[in-house]
């Protein structure tokens, strides 16, 4: 178990490292990432210096990459030489993000650990992230929310896909023959189609509909989950976002755009019944009727709610059944489900569970990661 966790943590860190490199303009692909894993296995990982050199060897491909790598490494793993709490950025108070060029400090990179106001927390970004992953959203401090933002953005990029009717050239034989290329090829061989070439269907993003409960009981989670909604809308195509308390509001357009804070502000303005009561059934009814077209066939619908419902459970069951019939897959994220003694006792949850394909926790980064894994498998 411990080693698995460690491995996950390494994967996260390496992804962060490569992301940071890419943000600076280096070409780092999946191949390099895999190589980095192998490189770390090959050296003594308890030595920070060895790990750094190994990674540098794998991830840099030209001289200009070296300085980028140093920056990225510093961003992700922290700088061992700088004593705790003495970051030059602290004195600037949020200035560096605005003033310094993006190449230096990628706006999306996790903040250096020195920014942590609580010195007892964790010394290195490494374990910082690991702790965050399993921490309940409700217990997040403002700083942790900011730290988690990048992780959430990364999770939001992972979404469901489906086979498209569009095709692209493929090496594997057995799909549709690529007549276009065969004719071209035969021109060179005196009309004899010597080489067989094929086309295979490509993959496209599958439509996804996110429905967030923003009623009173969800308040501790709504803010972080709304971040996830925003990140999904920003990162992927074909994502629709809705929020509901007693009534349903479409917030896809509000959440669009790159400016994170403005987007969340706009969404909060659009939703008039923040922190009020809940009528899940009525909200889903309006989703099915008014926005039925958007849900459409083949969408993955994710409901993020604790299932506390003051509405009619019969209506909820009916609308869930309908939703499941029209959606490709129906996932329910319930922050309460993280509790070890969780049992779906609320009327709402009892009515809804028979109609959901997956029930996940949705209270922490780890659970969002679980969601990402499920989505990718679809």
């Amino acid at each position: 178990m411990a080693s698995e966790l460690l491995e996950d943590a390494v994967t996260d860190q390496l992804s962060a490292l490569t992301a940071s490199l890419r943000a600076q303009g280096s070409r780092v692909g999946m191949g390099e990432l895999l190589n980095a894993h192998r490189a770390l296995e090959a050296v003594d990982c308890t030595s920070r210096e060895d790990a750094r050199l190994a990674l540098r060897a794998v991830l840099c491909s030209e001289r200009g990459d070296l300085i980028k790598f140093e920056r990225a490494f510093y961003d992700v793993f922290g700088d061992a030489r700088v004593p705790l709490g003495v970051s030059p950025f602290d004195e600037l108070e949020g200035m560096p993000r605005e003033v310094l060029p993006h190449a230096g400090i990628p706006a999306t990179a996790p903040a250096p650990p020195q920014a942590d106001a609580d010195p007892t927390a964790v010394p290195a970004a490494w374990s910082d992230v690991e702790l965050l992953r399993h921490k309940d959203f409700a217990a997040y401090s403002d700083l942790e929310m900011a730290l988690a933002r990048e992780l959430i953005a990364r999770l939001a990029r992972r979404g469901p896909t489906r086979l498209s009717r569009r095709t692209r050239p493929s090496r594997r034989r057995g799909h549709t023959p690529d007549l276009r290329r065969m004719v071209r090829g035969s021109l060179r061989t005196a009309g004899e189609p010597v080489e067989r070439v094929w086309r295979a269907p490509s993959r496209r993003p599958r439509p996804m509909v996110l429905v967030l409960d923003v009623s009173g009981s969800m308040t501790p989670y709504a803010r972080m989950l709304l971040q996830y909604l925003h990140a999904s809308v920003a990162a992927r195509r074909r994502v629709e976002a809705f929020a509901f308390g007693t009534r349903l509001t479409r917030i896809t357009n509000e959440l669009g755009g790159r400016d994170h804070d403005r987007a969340l502000e706009r969404a909060a303005e659009a939703v008039i019944d923040f922190s009020g009561g809940t009528r899940i059934g009525a909200a889903l009814a309006s989703l099915n009727r008014v926005h039925g077209r958007r849900v459409g066939r083949g969408a993955v619908v994710v409901i993020l709610s604790d299932g506390w419902d003051r509405g009619d459970p019969e209506e909820l069951a009916l609308e869930m059944a309908r939703l499941r019939r029209s959606a490709h897959r129906l996932v329910w994220l319930n922050p309460l489900a993280a509790h070890p003694e969780f049992a779906p006792l609320t009327r709402g949850m009892r009515a809804a569970i028979p109609h959901t394909d997956d029930l996940l926790a949705g209270n922490s980064l780890a659970s969002l990661e679980q969601l990402a894994v499920i989505l990718e498998e679809i």
């Binding site: 498209s164 569009r166 065969m182 061989t189 005196a190 189609p193 077209r293 459409g296």
Partner: protein, 285 residues
């Protein structure tokens, strides 16, 4: 009447009416503008309000040729503009034992023309109404291509060069709003949302489209459909198309046939049918 004669809102309205399509003033105005400004018209609206019919009626009334491009998932340039007839090319290659040069192989002889190319190469003396149906089913890439196409009504075929329309066709796009279209495409188009017609207009539509239908039938059907649309608790509301089929059903069954029994003509979701029956929505119609 030809397209150049759709010179005013009234004439647009008359032109559509001559084909049994009764349009309200905003729609007639939109059609008039599309013709006058030579700008594409994007029509949105619920299913069955007659988006596609607008193009048909306009073409029918003006004697223009209707060219229809039905969009679908995965549609690309080779479905929409042109493709090469590869099997025939291969045959020609083999028959000539390689003695064919490339220019000959990629000449008009082996070109398959698809709707958009057809629309561009139409005889300017004989105008064209180009219907691009259900654009929301195509993907973003195709939408981007279409934006270019609509900007200058020209396409480039690498092997042949570029083809430009001598006279831009009247373009009508329809969307069912299964997804939001790109802003740039919307900006290029005139936009009109087709609403359900009011009762008076819908009765007129029934009479115009189904000759021989009695006043009673038209009244009953239009009232019934109106109630269903107002009911507000149905998954799928009946469109004008359903009204017409329902009227035809009553014409076949007799004026006083039971509406509840023929509900399946208008509603296609089981729960909706049940709900309407159990709440006696159609009582007294």
């Amino acid at each position: 009447m030809t397209l150049t004669y759709v010179a005013s809102v009234e004439e647009a309205s008359e032109a559509l009416a001559s084909q049994g399509y009764l349009a309200d003033r905003p729609l007639a105005l939109a059609v008039h503008l599309a013709v006058a400004l030579e700008q594409p018209l994007l029509l949105e609206g619920e299913a069955g309000v007659g988006k596609t019919e607008v193009a048909r009626a306009l073409a029918g009334a003006t004697g223009a040729r209707l060219i229809r491009l039905q969009c679908h998932e995965g549609i690309d340039v080779h479905h929409a503009v042109y493709d090469w007839d590869y099997p025939r090319q291969l045959l020609a290659l083999r028959a000539a034992e390689g003695g064919v040069d490339e220019g000959e192989l990629f000449s008009r002889r082996f070109l398959l023309r698809r709707p958009l190319l057809d629309a561009l190469e139409a005889d300017p003396a004989n105008p064209v109404v180009l219907l691009i149906d259900e654009i929301d089913r195509a993907d973003d890439e195709f939408e981007a291509f279409l934006l270019e196409f609509l900007a200058d009504f020209a396409v480039t075929i690498p092997e042949l060069g570029s083809v430009r329309a001598e006279r831009p066709p009247v373009v009508i796009l329809t969307s069912n709003r299964t997804r939001e279209l790109h802003d740039a495409l919307k900006r290029r188009c005139l936009y009109h949302w087709i609403d359900y017609p009011n009762a008076q207009l819908e009765r007129a539509i029934v009479h115009a489209r189904i000759p021989g239908v009695s006043e009673t039938i038209a009244n009953r059907v239009v009232t019934a459909v109106g109630r269903l649309r107002e009911h507000g608790d149905l998954y799928k509301l009946p469109g004008v198309g359903e009204t017409l089929v329902w009227a035809r059903a009553l014409l076949a069954l007799g004026e006083d046939a039971d509406l509840d029994e023929t509900l399946g003509v208008a509603l296609k979701v089981h729960e909706d049918v049940q709900r309407v029956r159990s709440r006696s929505v159609l009582d007294g119609v």
